[in-house]
Amino acid sequence: MTKVLMSGNNIIGEAAIRAGCRFYAGYPITPQNELTEYMAEHMRTVEGGVFIQSESEIAAIHMIVGASSAGARVMTSSSSPGISLKQEGISSMAANELPGVIVNIMRGSPGLGNIRPSQGDYFQATRGGGHGDYRTIVFAPATCQELADLTMNAFDLADIYRTPVMILADGMMGQMMEPVVFKKPKPRQYSEKFMLRGAGQGKSKFIRSLILDAIDMEEHNWKLARKYQIITEKETLHEEYKTEDAELVIVAYGTAARIAKGAIKRLRENGMKVGLFRPITLWPFPELKLRTLSKKVKNYLVFELSTGQMLDDVRLALQGYADIGFHGRPGGVVPTPAELANVAARHYEKAD
């Protein structure tokens, strides 16, 4: 298979089209415009491809809701402020059990913030984000190869579980260039019985989340909850890096995990046995995997481009099992591996 050199945003677009995405709607926002533009350029070259520049992120998400119900593989993308606007539709997709992929190339927020990298949307992404009791599968790629692979996987999981799946990255990942290999997409597994295509001669169908009967409403929510339970049991992904002999493990995802690998290299050169635990799915969070690691390693440092969001999930996994430190920079300024190495070294020594 041939390797190609592409930037992160373009990789997501190419992977989506190869995975059979045939409907994309989006509204421009930096730092993900290259993705929207990639879809504009390439959707018109594939049969049945639809690209719409919508009037807003709200319209975009509801367009993909419609196209998903009609049976298309759908995607929309945005960055933090736009993802806030999409929450109504994401909640709707979860409730109506409609598959689709949402890409958030995070920027420094709250408010308008700026376009520099941040991981401030972790809570929004992993706690459902919109109203109601639902969850969204969240992938946090850390390399261009993962952007390609996980984007393809996202479409498959969205179909299998009939639920929205989010790719959570940041401006740095959107812009960075690395060689990638696009894997062969799997054939789509999604039954026509879930699609609205007109009743033909048969019985008409409808898709809705308004359930007026209290007991039916509760049962629908339990049904979603059972689905989320299965996803939690089957779909967590993580990477462990140099944890075999580690005395300290840094827990980080996405761009922060890349910085952490740089820091670990320095620390190990100085004789400190430091490893990395990198969640690849943020929801479901690889909680049990992390707890299992705590049988071996008792000292952890959570590192995020936020003031501490994933930290909550690490605490849920490790509180009472291990020592947990935290280092965060709330977006905008990207810390260097050297900075993190200094912090980690202090934490490493503290435990002795």
Binding site: S54, H62, G66, G71, E88, G89, S204, F206, R208, L210
Partner: protein, 257 residues
């Protein structure tokens, strides 16, 4: 044997409407269903009900339907139509849904000339939530959120959707009708049929605005509500065709084929 002159349209399910007596939604539902029957498009039609009194429209229309969030119908319908261009897609919306929270989605679907049909129920109030001010509420009209009457300085003016959209190049067919008398019901049906025909012929965006009685929230009898449409509402919202480009759009299309 007596000839059957009146029966339930095939595109309506056997369910009884939950609408109040004298409500324009019931009449309009029936008209839309009759048109779907007459055009023979039940099997290829996909409808999008709103948040509003017609939120349960999928319990009535015997066609495939996808719920939309409040105001988002035209975006949702756009998604369906673009994914399945040979299906007939309609969005059914109230005035709050279309002209307040969903004005961006409806305006831009119209402006794109999206090949969908919008059935727009203008009843000058928010029916479902209990009679609050709608963007189409008359000046001085009392609602639960304009207890002293709609005040132009504080609340602005009734929003005229057909007039506004007619300024756009995108839409193909825009008509305002009412359903307050047998004659007006017949006219409304013709307009709805034309709107669906417009879509079937691939001519682009069509919208029929229906001045629709809401006796409950207007706090009137059904008869008085019908009269109020003639005497008050249709003065602010004149009936008629605001745009009909069907012939002009058709010609170049035909010339090309």
């Amino acid at each position: 044997m007596a000839k059957k002159l009146f029966s339930r349209p095939k595109s309506l399910k056997e369910a009884g409407f939950h609408y109040c007596p004298g409500c324009g939604h019931s009449i309009t539902h029936r008209l839309v269903a009759e048109v779907i029957d007459e055009l023979g498009i039940r099997g290829i039609t996909i409808g999008v009900p709103p948040a509003g009194c017609a939120v349960l429209a999928y319990n009535y229309f015997d066609v495939d339907m996808l719920e939309a969030q409040h105001g988002r119908g035209p975006a949702t319908a756009t998604g369906i139509k673009r994914a399945l261009p040979d299906r007939i897609v309609f969005s059914y919306q109230g005035d709050g849904d279309l002209a307040a929270i969903g004005i961006a989605e409806s305006f831009h679907a119209a402006n794109r000339g999206e090949n969908i049909t919008v059935i727009f129920i203008n009843n000058a109030v928010y029916g479902m939530t209990g009679g609050q001010m709608a963007p189409t509420t008359m000046l001085d009209q009392k609602t639960t959120t304009t207890p002293a009457g709609r005040n132009k300085t504080l609340d602005g003016y009734p929003v005229k959707v057909c007039e506004t959209f007619s300024q756009l190049k995108g839409p193909t067919y825009l008509e305002r009708v009412t359903v307050n008398s047998p004659a007006s019901v017949n006219k409304a049906k013709k307009a709805i049929k034309k709107a669906f025909q417009c879509q079937m012929d691939g001519l682009g965006f069509s919208l029929v605005e229906i001045l629709s009685p809401c006796p409950t929230n207007w706090k009137m009898t059904s008869v008085a509500a019908c009269k109020w449409i003639d005497e008050v509402m249709s003065k602010e919202f004149p009936l008629g065709v605001f745009k009909d480009n069907m012939a002009a759009v058709k010609k170049p299309a035909e010339a090309a084929s």
